[in-house]
Structure formats: structure tokens, C-alpha cells
């Protein structure tokens, strides 16, 4: 087919006019953008963790570390093992954050269970409150994030977090923490820890989605957040949490 430069300009011009009209119409009618576009205002993220389902394999710790390039010796998520003997202080361990799981229990007649930990994505977050420059903030979709181009590295937020979820990144010299795999969840994926959990002990939930299973879970189960007396409005809920867990 013979297609001169003149024809090309004509066709281009028509396309431009059509696109402009389309865009203007969309503005006038307030038409929605493509349905798969992520809108922060539509989400309010959190997590449900089922203590009884966690087997302490450490898959989540390894997956998180790989996915997010977590520096060695620091943890965005980790798993603790509680071993409780009646009338005694609980014995807790988390060897290398449970990166390689746990050695077997050596003692019997113990109440023993695993507790996966991560940032609780608090809505009334003490870490956000104390940041002197606002480098750490709660995103409109409910995730506590750190702007590492802005963080001073003063570590006041590390002190303010009741759960020990923050650390100073040794290379960046800024504070680092669980982002709830923000780069994944905003693309419709789940977090690396949830995806890698073989028993489904971790479940990413969206409180603003009426079809999310979280509503049924919260309705039908006894759930608790860590250190509720801190009143941080944590959004990581635990099913079957023992009162000894801190």
C-alpha cells in the first residue's frame, strides 16, 4: 500500500482529535479510568495471622528477605517460638529470625507455638508521630512507609515502635521496615510472606473490600492485636493468640 508522508500526518491529526475528544468527554462525564488501575482510596490493608496454622518453617522470612533485599541480620518479618511451662516465664527464641526455621523442641510437657511478626501497620502509629520530618507516614491505603530519600536516620521511630519492627539499614543509613510488599499489593498481588506460607497462616486483607474474607474472619473468630494496651490501632490481627505473647 502506498502511504505518503501527507497521509501519515492526516491520520495522525485525526487520531489526535479523537483522543482529545475522548479525554474531554471522560473529564466531562467523570468516567472511571481503566478498571485495573490501583486507587489508594479504595483499600485499607492489614493482615490476619492464624497462630494455630504457623509451623515455624521460616519460608516467610526467607521470601521477605529475598523479595525486599533485607540486609543480613535485620528483619522485616520474623517468627518467634514460645515455649511455656506452667507457672514460669515463657521461653522465647527466634534463631536468626527463624530464617532457617527452628531446632526441634527438646523438652516435653510444654505449651509451644509460633508467632510470626511484622510491622503492625498501625493506624495511630507512634513511629509516624515522632518522625521529626514526616519521612515515615501512613499511606492513604493504610500502609506505614518510609521515604528513604527524606529520612534523617535519627532513629526516633525505632525507639517509638513498641514491636521492634524497625531498624537502620546499614548501607542506606535510613530506617527500613516492612512495606507490606507495597510494590506487589498495588499490582494486585499478595505479599511475599503470604504467598510463600505453606499453611496459609498469613492472609493479606483489605478492610475496605466488602468481599474480602477478613470480615467473616473477624465476625466468627476471637482475634487480638499485639500489645493492645499501646492503642496503636494495629491492623495485623492474630487468631488464637496466647496472652503470654508480647
Amino acid at each position: 500500500m502506498d502511504f505518503s508522508r501527507r497521509d501519515l500526518f492526516k491520520a495522525g491529526g485525526k487520531l489526535l482529535v479523537l483522543a482529545s475528544v475522548g479525554a474531554t468527554l471522560e473529564q466531562i462525564t467523570g468516567a472511571e479510568p481503566a478498571s485495573d488501575a490501583y486507587k489508594m482510596a479504595d483499600h485499607w490493608w492489614g493482615m490476619i495471622i492464624d497462630i494455630d496454622h504457623c509451623i515455624g518453617c521460616g519460608n516467610c522470612v526467607r521470601a521477605c528477605s529475598r523479595e525486599n533485599g533485607v540486609p543480613h541480620g535485620y528483619f522485616r518479618t520474623w517468627v518467634e517460638r514460645y515455649q511455656i511451662e506452667e507457672g514460669k516465664q515463657p521461653r522465647v527464641d527466634s534463631p536468626d529470625g527463624a530464617m532457617e526455621g527452628f531446632p526441634p523442641n527438646t523438652r516435653e510437657r510444654l505449651k509451644s507455638f509460633f508467632v510470626p511478626k511484622l510491622c503492625n501497620q498501625c493506624a495511630a502509629s507512634p513511629c509516624v508521630q515522632v518522625c521529626p520530618v514526616g519521612a515515615t507516614f501512613v499511606s492513604p491505603d493504610g500502609v506505614v512507609l518510609v521515604d528513604d530519600t527524606y529520612c534523617l536516620g535519627c532513629r526516633y521511630c525505632v525507639q517509638a515502635c513498641p514491636y521492634g519492627c524497625r531498624y537502620l539499614h546499614p548501607q542506606k543509613q535510613t530506617v527500613d521496615k516492612c512495606t507490606l510488599c507495597y510494590h506487589r499489593i498495588t499490582k494486585g498481588l499478595t505479599t511475599a510472606c503470604c504467598e510463600s506460607c505453606p499453611t496459609g497462616a498469613r492472609l493479606l486483607v483489605d478492610f475496605k473490600n466488602p468481599k474480602d474474607p477478613v470480615h467473616e474472619i473477624l465476625r466468627n473468630n476471637k482475634v487480638e492485636v499485639l500489645k493492645p494496651y499501646m492503642a496503636t490501632q494495629a491492623k495485623v490481627y492474630y487468631k488464637n493468640l496466647d496472652g503470654a505473647v508480647r
Partner: protein, 387 residues
């Protein structure tokens, strides 16, 4: 087992975040606030006996205030971003207010008061010295050469007003440092509404002790007699503030012990083990009870001049060590236990790193270097020429 850890720490808690430099920061700002309060005793509360230390106290406060931000800068992961605290302060953060409180105190209170106090002498020196000194003094006049009796009267009035504003400002400067710690609800060792007021009184104690010791040392070096009426008065005020400070700290201790909440077992164990030396021996016994006993003895009995000097110097030196130990126990102690209350970590101070021991020593020497420059530039001795 992780070296230095007993029991269970959350994995990210093993490493301490706030080092010896953050111990220095409240110690230094405390000395500033305390020295200023002592200066205000003469200026506002008309305690004439402490006149010989008025200027010394102001210069001590300035020397330490100039150094106060340095440990923070050295500690930051990104010191080059610290100006963001001025440009985009986060209003809910106690720390964000630091820059503003600091600037207010430095410029509106301390520099202004010192300038007004020294103005007549600066003008005189600008006209009598030569060379670089003349240039410096001419710059320090800020172009104002009017030292007529009327102008001096205005200086005095404004200076008085600045001191009156300065007292709540000094309270703010250090009370707010206490608030930085006291408002951290995650940390039961810090979280207490008493923290700002304990910091405030311990600041006054350390500042008064520092000026007292400096006054004696300076007099010895200059080979001039020590004004014992002045020294006795400072020691008396040190005793009064120390009694209040000790009462507040004991109130905190008794309250914690009596309430014995969830954290108590863990904190009690820490005090009896890792903090035993710095808290019980250094802070409470050597740094508080001994100087308090010495100062109290001087309120009850009249010792000879030589004995009194020795007693005051001992009490002053021990007080300075005790208050440093108190800052150490707050800052470092608050990070030694796990927020799970199930374990303890330890602080390994480095030597030649940015936040190591040598930096800390250098930062504690620097105020004295600045102090030497200041007394050279603005001699605080005025025995022969009362105001």
C-alpha cells in the same frame, strides 16, 4: 545464642540505636540550662552573692550550647538532611521542635544577653585594641558605639527582660529534652510524665555544679582569691536544687516499685545487673548521696575555708559524674532491655568510629576550648568594676 544477649530480644533490638553521643546531648543541654539558671539568680532574683559567677555562667552556657547540636549531627544517618527539620518540621514530633527551641535559646536569649552585658566593654575594646582583635570587636559592636549612661540604662533594662524570658526558655530547652524520652510510650523505662521535670532539675544541678567548679578552677589558675560568700551561696543553691532533684527521682523509683507493672520485673533485674554500677554505685551513691551529704554538712556546720573549698570541689565533681551517669542510665539503660520484657542486650561502645568513645571525648573537650576562646575575647572577671 547471640553474643551480649541474655534471654530473648526482638531480632531488630539487639543493636542499640542511640549511642554515647545521645548521652552527651542531654548532658550538654542540661549544663547550658543549669548555668543559665544560676546566672539568672543574680540578674532576676537579685542574689548578689553570686555576682562573681554571673558572666562566667553565661559564657559557660554559650560554650556548651554551641556544641549541643554536634553529637546529634554526628549521630544522624544523613546529617546533610538535618536542615529539613527547619524547612518541613513534622508538627507532631517532639524532636522536630529541637531546632526552633535551640535557635530561640541561642539567639534570642543567650547571645542577646551576653551582648547587652558586654556591650560597653566591646565598644571600649574596639577603640583601644589594634589589628585583628580590633576588627573582631568592631564587628561585635554591631555598629552601635553609643555607651552613654542613658544607653547603658536601656541595655540593662532589656538585658533584664531577656533574662526573665530566658528562665522559661531554659526550662523549655531542657524540659523538652526530657519530653523526648518521657513521651515514648513503647519504652517503660522512659515513659513518665516526671521525665521532663526530672531532666530539668538534674540540669540545674549539673549546671550549677559545673559553674561552681569552673569558678574555683579559674580563680586558682588566675591566682586570685575565691569569694567564699559567693561559693557558699552557690553550694547552698546546689543543695536546694539537688534535694528537689533527688526527691523527684526517688518519687519515680518508689512509684515504679509500688505499682510494679508488667515491666517492673524486667527493669528491676536490669538495675540489679547491667546498670548496677552506673545506676546504683555511680548515679545514686557516689553521684547523689555523697555530694548531698557533703552539701548538707555545710548547711549544718561551719568548716574552715580550706575544708569548705575541698568539700565543694568534691561535691561538684561527683555531682557532674552522677548527672552524666543519670543521662547514661536513661539513654543506654532504656535500650538494654527488650520491649518483650524477656531479655537484655548490651552496649559495646566503639572506640574510633563516628559514634565512638573518641568522638565523645572530643565533644566534651570542645566546649572547654570554646570557653577558653570566649574568656579571652570577653573576660568575665569584674572584681574591680562592679556594675
Amino acid at each position: 545464642m547471640i553474643p551480649g544477649v541474655n534471654g530473648f530480644m526482638y531480632p531488630n533490638e539487639v543493636e542499640l540505636q542511640w549511642s554515647v553521643l545521645i548521652v552527651l546531648y542531654p548532658y550538654i543541654t542540661g549544663l547550658v540550662a543549669g548555668a543559665f539558671i544560676l546566672a539568672s539568680l543574680e540578674r532576676v532574683f537579685k542574689v548578689e552573692a553570686v555576682r562573681p559567677t554571673y558572666r562566667l555562667a553565661l559564657l559557660t552556657a554559650l560554650a556548651f550550647l554551641l556544641v549541643a547540636p554536634l553529637p546529634l549531627q554526628l549521630h544522624l544517618g544523613h546529617p546533610e538532611r538535618s536542615f529539613e527539620m527547619y524547612l518541613t518540621p513534622h508538627t507532631s514530633s517532639a524532636m522536630a521542635m529541637f531546632g526552633f527551641v535551640y535557635l530561640w535559646y541561642l539567639t534570642v536569649v543567650l547571645l542577646l544577653e551576653i551582648w547587652l552585658e558586654y556591650r560597653a566593654e566591646i565598644v571600649g575594646l574596639a577603640q583601644t585594641t589594634t589589628g585583628i582583635r580590633r576588627l573582631i570587636y568592631r564587628a561585635l559592636t554591631l555598629g552601635s558605639y553609643n555607651v552613654s549612661p542613658e544607653a547603658r540604662r536601656i541595655d540593662d533594662k532589656v538585658g533584664y527582660a531577656v533574662t526573665v524570658i530566658g528562665i522559661p526558655s531554659a526550662f523549655l530547652l531542657h524540659g523538652y529534652v526530657g519530653f523526648i524520652f518521657g513521651s515514648v510510650k513503647a519504652n517503660p523505662w522512659w515513659s513518665s510524665p516526671l521525665m521532663p521535670i526530672v531532666f530539668l532539675f538534674s540540669a540545674m544541678v549539673s549546671g550549677i555544679a559545673a559553674v561552681m567548679v569552673l569558678y574555683v578552677v579559674c580563680s586558682k589558675l588566675r591566682k586570685v582569691p575565691i569569694d567564699m560568700r559567693c561559693l557558699d551561696t552557690i553550694a547552698r543553691y546546689l543543695f536546694y536544687t539537688f534535694v528537689i532533684d533527688f526527691t523527684l527521682e526517688m518519687l519515680d523509683l518508689v512509684h515504679r516499685t509500688y505499682e510494679a507493672d508488667e515491666s517492673f520485673r524486667s527493669l528491676d533485674f536490669m538495675v540489679h545487673t547491667r546498670l548496677w554500677f552506673s545506676q546504683v554505685i555511680l548515679q545514686i551513691m557516689l553521684g547523689t548521696l555523697v555530694p548531698l551529704a557533703i552539701l548538707a554538712a555545710n548547711q549544718l556546720w561551719r568548716f574552715s575555708v580550706g575544708v569548705r573549698k575541698a568539700m565543694y570541689m568534691t561535691a561538684g565533681g561527683l555531682t557532674l559524674i552522677g548527672i552524666f551517669a543519670m543521662r547514661w542510665n536513661v539513654v543506654i539503660g532504656g535500650q538494654l532491655f527488650s520491649k518483650s520484657f524477656l531479655g537484655y542486650t548490651s552496649y559495646k561502645m566503639e572506640l574510633v568510629t563516628r559514634e565512638g568513645l573518641l568522638s565523645a571525648i572530643a565533644l566534651m573537650i570542645l566546649p572547654f576550648v570554646i570557653f577558653l576562646v570566649l574568656i579571652k575575647l570577653l573576660p568575665p572577671w569584674q572584681e574591680e568594676k562592679p556594675r
